[in-house]
């Protein structure tokens, strides 16, 4: 597969969030078949770090994000937040950890309740936690909305970008440590996307946030992330700091992703053909082998393990590109 | 596969409906024994009748007994008339069937062109007129409509008889004149429901990308409506045809009373008034079987209409 393994994980005491061998499956139709959405993914984040996750639709990005907040809990694997195992928690104990881990969603419209006012949407967190609610104005201000005009209105009176700001305010007001952003800018126009990306960077510095940033656009992910992880069909392909990943991609899939961007100067021979196979019935060995220009027999037999190929550059592939 | 699955489910529903109705009818106050012997009968006489009729058995035993009988076509013997229930039902079923089928044919036959015409010119005068008309029909209770139709066609113009029934076997022409008014009355309410459903779904379909693209390929509006839009818009309509059977039968009960038709609905009403449990229960079985049959048919039609349902 685009592979498994935990070689790339850092010592436990250095990281704030540590995810090991995450597996998420969903039932697929009848006859007990399952969709293997996330199949043994591991990663970790230091405090204040941003991890970017890229991959095509259906590669398990969002499933992984939701498994982090235990909605629903993963099939197996562990999610350690500051040493605390979240997957072992249920009910009230799990609820108590929620403040520390917040999430921002893709669809700015559907993630806000159309019947509530912005003040109630943003103030919901403090009310749930019985915190003083007077920070609503401050947080709205921080995300670039004017509390005076915005707070009493309902979501449909705002544009997509403004709705996304409201979502961010709702997450931030609880002063979380980790914020998971699941495609937060995918539904936005370029000009608004830039506003939100800059805003996230500002807020990260101001509130000392640790971010998991998920998107399908490599350029966007690279812009905000310290490290970038490439996923394919529920598996990790490659992990490296953004600059390193773009300048020296080693995994055939990473190379194909870069070459597919119209503006990139990558040679056409790294392009791939065909379409991703069904996650109900993933290929044996390396999951990318059905589309991989470099695949060999070994790739169908043996799943590649994650190994180090440079300083903080990690790869799961048997036959990486030579010019790496 | 899916159809088999549904069939099993519907059979379970059938069992549940018959059991619940059996239990309900038996648990309600009112006693056939009193109905047969009158209030003044002695306790011994009552016990005697009770035993004869098997009413001293526990409910579940009686139900299973009765169910076993149904399986062999024996619907029991009416406590009141002492006639086999099956014979009575068999005699009346054709009347009700003819009424229901005629009503359904009228309703669908008119609803489809009306729905299509309204959707095609949504928002314009014709649509508004048709919408208003179907709204009015929808809001007219069958017995009101029936009375009005009788008043106009039977009393004032005297083109059809107000009441009574001529079986097909006697005279086809007379049969048709005796079924037309009841069927129209019963069909009109359904017609309104169907036309509105079809109109709404068609309008939604007409906004789909694939319709715009069909227009972009230079296809004529007529072709787009009938070949492209109608089938994907028919799902709700088909469901309604299946689910509405209950409403239709409720209507049939009234219509048969109003027009004096000797159908199953009339039988059920009469049996209810005379506390003739077994006849009521027989009627319920018939209706439930009809419901199941119609819904199996609906599932088959579904699969024919929408390939997404037709998975292996």
């Amino acid at each position: 597969m685009a592979g498994s393994g935990n070689a790339h994980l850092r010592p436990r005491d250095e990281v704030l969030l540590r995810v090991e061998d995450l597996v998420v499956e969903f039932p697929a139709g009848r006859a007990g078949r399952t969709v293997s959405a996330v199949a043994g993914v591991s990663f970790d984040l230091r405090r204040g770090e941003t991890l970017g996750i890229v991959g095509e639709s259906g590669c398990g990005k969002s499933s992984a994000a939701r498994a982090l907040v235990q909605l629903p809990p993963p099939r197996s694997g562990s999610v350690l937040l500051d040493g605390q195992e979240l997957t072992a928690l249920r009910g009230e104990a799990l609820r108590r950890t929620r403040r520390r881990l917040q999430m921002i969603f893709q669809d700015p419209i559907s993630s806000l309740n159309p019947r509530r006012r912005v003040r109630d949407i943003v103030g919901e967190g403090p009310r749930v936690w019985q915190l003083p609610g007077d920070r609503v104005d401050e947080v709205l201000e921080a995300v670039g909305l004017d509390p005076g005009t915005a707070a009493e209105r309902r979501p449909h009176e705002f544009s997509g970008g403004q709705c996304q700001r409201i979502s961010i305010a709702r997450a931030l007001i609880l002063e979380p440590e980790v914020v998971i952003c699941d495609e937060p800018v995918s539904a936005l126009d370029v000009s608004v996307q830039a506003q939100i990306l800059n805003l996230l960077e500002d807020l990260k510095a101001r509130y000392r946030l640790t971010l998991v940033f998920i998107a399908h656009d490599l350029a966007v992910v690279k812009n905000v992330s310290d490290r970038v992880m490439v996923m394919y069909l529920g598996k990790v392909c490659e992990l490296a700091p953004g600059g390193d990943l773009i300048s020296r991609p080693a995994h055939p899939y990473t190379r194909a992703l870069i070459a597919s961007i119209p503006s990139s100067a990558r040679p056409a021979e790294t392009l791939i053909t065909g379409e991703p196979p069904s996650p109900v019935d993933p290929p044996s060995g390396c999951r990318f082998r059905t589309r991989c220009p470099r695949a060999t027999d070994r790739c169908s037999l043996e799943e590649p393990q994650i190994r180090q190929i440079g300083e903080d550059h990690w790869l799961a592939c048997h036959n990486p590109a030579p010019n790496h | 596969m899916i159809v088999v699955h549904r069939l099993v489910r519907l059979l379970i529903v059938l069992l549940a409906v018959t059991f619940l109705s059996y239990a309900l009818l038996n648990l309600l106050p009112g006693d056939p024994v009193t109905q047969i012997l009158g209030l003044s009968a002695t306790e011994e006489a009552r016990a005697q009748v009770r035993q004869e009729l098997g009413l001293d058995q526990p409910l579940l035993v009686r139900y299973l007994d009765w169910l076993g009988g149904i399986a062999t076509g024996d619907f029991g013997t009416s406590y009141i008339t002492r006639m086999p229930v099956a014979a009575e039902l068999a005699e009346r079923l054709p009347v009700t069937l003819e009424l229901l089928v005629a009503a359904q044919v009228i309703a669908l036959g008119l609803a489809i062109p009306i729905g299509v015409a309204a959707a095609r010119r949504a928002g314009r005068a014709l649509d508004q007129a048709l919408t208003a008309l179907s709204f009015a029909l929808l809001s007219t209770p069958v017995f009101v409509l029936g009375v009005l139709l009788i008043l106009v066609f039977a009393v004032t113009w005297q083109v059809v008889p107000a009441t009574g029934w001529t079986p097909i076997s006697l005279d086809l022409g007379w049969n048709l004149t005796s079924v037309i008014l009841p069927a129209v009355t019963l069909g009109c309410g359904q017609l309104a429901v169907y036309a509105r459903l079809l109109r709404t779904d068609l309008i939604a379909t007409l906004q789909e990308d694939y319709i715009t693209l069909a227009r972009a390929r230079g296809l004529s509006p007529r072709r787009i409506l009938w070949r492209h839009a109608l089938r994907p818009s028919a799902i709700t309509l088909i469901t309604a045809v299946g689910l509405n059977l209950g409403a239709l039968i409720g209507g049939a009960v009234i219509i048969e009373t109003l027009f004096g038709l000797p159908g199953v609905g009339r039988l059920i009403v009469d049996s209810i008034f005379s506390r003739d449990y077994l006849s009521v229960q027989g009627g319920v079985v018939l209706i439930s079987v009809g419901y199941v049959a119609v819904n199996v048919a609906v599932d088959l039609v579904y699969a024919a209409v929408d390939p997404r349902i037709r998975r292996a």
Partner: protein, 630 residues
């Protein structure tokens, strides 16, 4: 303001219906104090008399005042309606919420019970229960209420399911809200809208059901009058006293109609717009400004001053406002701009495929032939054979219930009059040419059996089937993954070369445009703000908006945490455009003139821009094109 619009949207019928309901309700409440004859007083007037001042609805067979009896009957109808609806709601709504929110086991059990209830012949049961348990108000309410439960469960479950699946419910869970709070705060307020609409429709249903029972003599017993009972009594004497049966009939009809109408209008508030296949004729069409005389050029496609306006309640929306361009064979024209800038409407205007509420202006020439002068029927002979179209979302671009074969062969058979066999063979060739493996088998399949990339290839094959001269591709790859997107764009390019077509490529993704287009027009708020050869426009943008767009997108080559240059604010409201330049509020170069005079599209050396203070034409790095939109 909002209130006013709301009442207008509900319509006159709604208010009339509400008025009637209130009237009946009041009459029922005040029946005893109103100056009416007693409902059971026989010989209050001569029997079977028609309407008169003393007895507005006449008298019945026993000389009782019909009006009084109808008014008292309203008590039973409305009372039963209210009671049964509330009872059904009280039982059905919690069950529906539970089934829709909890799903799994709770849902399975509740829905199985519902299935059984559905198969119950409801009226028969109502009859039986009322007959055996006693025909009185309480029993009728209980029976009709309970019989209404399945419908309530289905309705509430359905809308709970929709809302419980929305991301805002997930967000509330992430916040740590407990289920009960989520149900009350997030789900119930949303479910309340359809439920309140259904409450009115339910009233109508119950009133009819009560009437049916009463008609059969199984509702509240005499001497209390009921509408159904009155109708039943009246029909025996309808030959000589039709007023006795007509009065309750009409009142009942109006009441049921009113409840249905109110329920329907409430539901329509949350519904989508209703647009048919044929345009609604505009009362007063807002005629776009007359077009200046223009030369008809010798080129494949020429658009002159195309305008698309919508008359909306908010005012005139100028979705496309004076767009002109020309296009030669074998070239690709890209239309770029942010969401809502009018790109799609421009394409639809050219093709004559606008929604019914649109007003079109300007002229479009295809090889010198004026398309806007054609009737719809004449236009159809061009659509397909000469103009091909591909849309954004391949998931919705194919008819789900027809085979690929039926859809691909259709234009061949309609336009090229091919026979079945011939069309099939041609379809196989077409599918092969767009890179579909095993085309013969694909013809027999349905759209849902294909992946998104394959479907987009099929729609491209369909667009190309009659050999069009111009292919319009509205965001053909936006819904696809990057690797697939690249394949499809390459395919389009190859086909353009092979067939010597012209392509109009709509995209919001500047990198796609820079890579694949020869010419580009940049749109902002419905107008062209810059036009020219793609390399030049992106290499040396003259209009500040183009420059800002280029800089707003992150580039692969930027270092991490590179601060993006943002365009502040957002596009203006098209119904309320500012005077002067539409971009002024967001423009870093704006001057005084920008606020008052809209900049005209100025042509300079094969390029054009609309700006009072254009950027210098010095060479900036071509790096600027290396961007990616979304």
């Amino acid at each position: 303001m909002r209130r006013g619009r709301l009442s207008a949207r509900l319509g006159l019928g709604f208010w009339l219906a509400t008025g009637w309901i209130l009237l009946v309700l009041l009459a029922a409440l005040l029946a005893d104090v109103l100056p009416l004859a007693r409902y059971d007083e026989t010989l209050a007037g001569p029997p079977r008399s028609g309407p008169s001042p003393a007895h507005p609805f006449g008298t019945d067979g026993l000389g009782r005042d019909v009006l009084s009896r109808v008014v008292h009957g309203a008590r039973v109808s409305l009372g039963v309606g209210l009671g049964a609806v509330l009872l059904g709601l009280a039982i059905g709504a919690p069950l529906g919420l539970l089934a829709g929110y909890r799903r799994k086991a709770a849902d399975a059990v509740i829905m199985a019970l519902n299935d059984v209830a559905q198969a119950f012949p409801a009226l028969v049961f109502a009859l039986a229960v009322v007959a055996f348990a006693g025909a009185n108000l309480r029993n009728v309410i209980i029976v009709l209420g309970v019989l209404g439960v399945p419908s309530w469960v289905r309705l509430v479950r359905g809308s709970t399911l929709t809302y419980a699946g929305r991301e805002f419910v997930l967000a509330a869970r992430v916040l740590g809200a407990r289920d009960r709070r989520i149900l009350w705060r997030e789900v119930v307020p949303n479910v309340a809208v359809p439920a309140s609409s259904y409450a009115f429709i339910g009233m109508a249903v119950v009133i009819v059901a009560e009437g049916s029972l009463a008609f059969l003599g199984l509702s509240v017993q005499a001497p209390t009058p009921t509408w159904g009972g009155l109708i039943n009594e009246g029909r025996t004497i309808m030959e000589d006293a039709p007023n006795v049966v007509l009065a309750p009939s009409v009142v009942m009809f109006l009441t049921v109609l009113s409840f249905n109408l109110v329920g329907d209008r409430l539901r329509a508030l949350t519904d989508v717009r209703e647009i048919g296949l044929e345009p609604v004729r505009q009362a007063v069409a807002a005629v776009p400004a007359p077009t200046a005389p223009h030369p008809v050029r010798d080129c494949l496609l020429q658009a002159e001053d195309v305008r698309t306006h919508f008359v909306t309640p908010r005012g005139l929306v100028k979705a496309v406002d004076g767009v002109s361009f020309t296009l030669e064979r074998g070239r690709t024209l890209a239309v770029v701009g942010e969401s809502g800038s009018g790109k799609s409407m421009l394409i639809r205007s050219i093709l004559g495929l606008l929604p019914g509420t649109a007003v079109r202006g300007g002229t479009v020439y295809l090889s010198g032939d004026d398309l806007t002068a054609r009737s719809p029927a004449e236009m159809r002979s061009v659509l397909g054979p000469r103009l091909g179209t591909v849309f954004q979302d391949p998931m919705t671009a194919l008819n789900p219930v027809r085979t690929i074969g039926a859809q691909v062969t259709e234009p061949l058979r309609v336009h090229l009059r091919m026979g079945r066999r011939q069309a099939r063979e041609e379809a196989v060739r077409l599918l092969a040419s767009v890179g579909i493996p095993d085309p013969a088998r694909t013809l027999r399949r349905y759209p849902h059996q294909l992946s998104g990339g394959m479907r987009q290839r099929v729609t491209i094959a369909m667009a190309l089937s009659c050999g069009p001269d111009v292919l319009f591709a509205d965001e053909p790859t936006t819904a696809l993954d990057v690797t697939i997107q690249d394949q499809v764009l390459r395919l389009l390019h190859r086909l353009r070369e092979e067939r010597d077509m012209a392509v109009v490529l709509v995209s919001h993704d500047l990198s796609v445009v820079a890579r694949w287009a020869d010419e580009v027009i940049v749109m902002y708020a419905g107008r062209v703000v810059e036009r020219g050869p793609a390399a030049e426009v992106f290499g040396r943008p003259r209009m500040p908006y183009t420059e800002a767009l280029l800089q707003a997108a992150p580039r692969l080559t930027d270092p991490a945490h590179h601060r993006l240059r943002v365009i502040s604010g957002r596009p203006p409201d098209l119904a309320d455009l500012p005077a002067g330049c539409a971009f002024r509020a967001r423009c870093a170069y704006a001057g005084d003139r920008c606020a008052t005079e809209p900049p005209p599209l100025t042509e300079v050396e094969g390029r054009a821009y609309a700006c009072w203070h254009p950027l210098p034409s010095t060479e900036t790095s071509l790096e600027g094109t290396h961007v990616d939109g979304r």
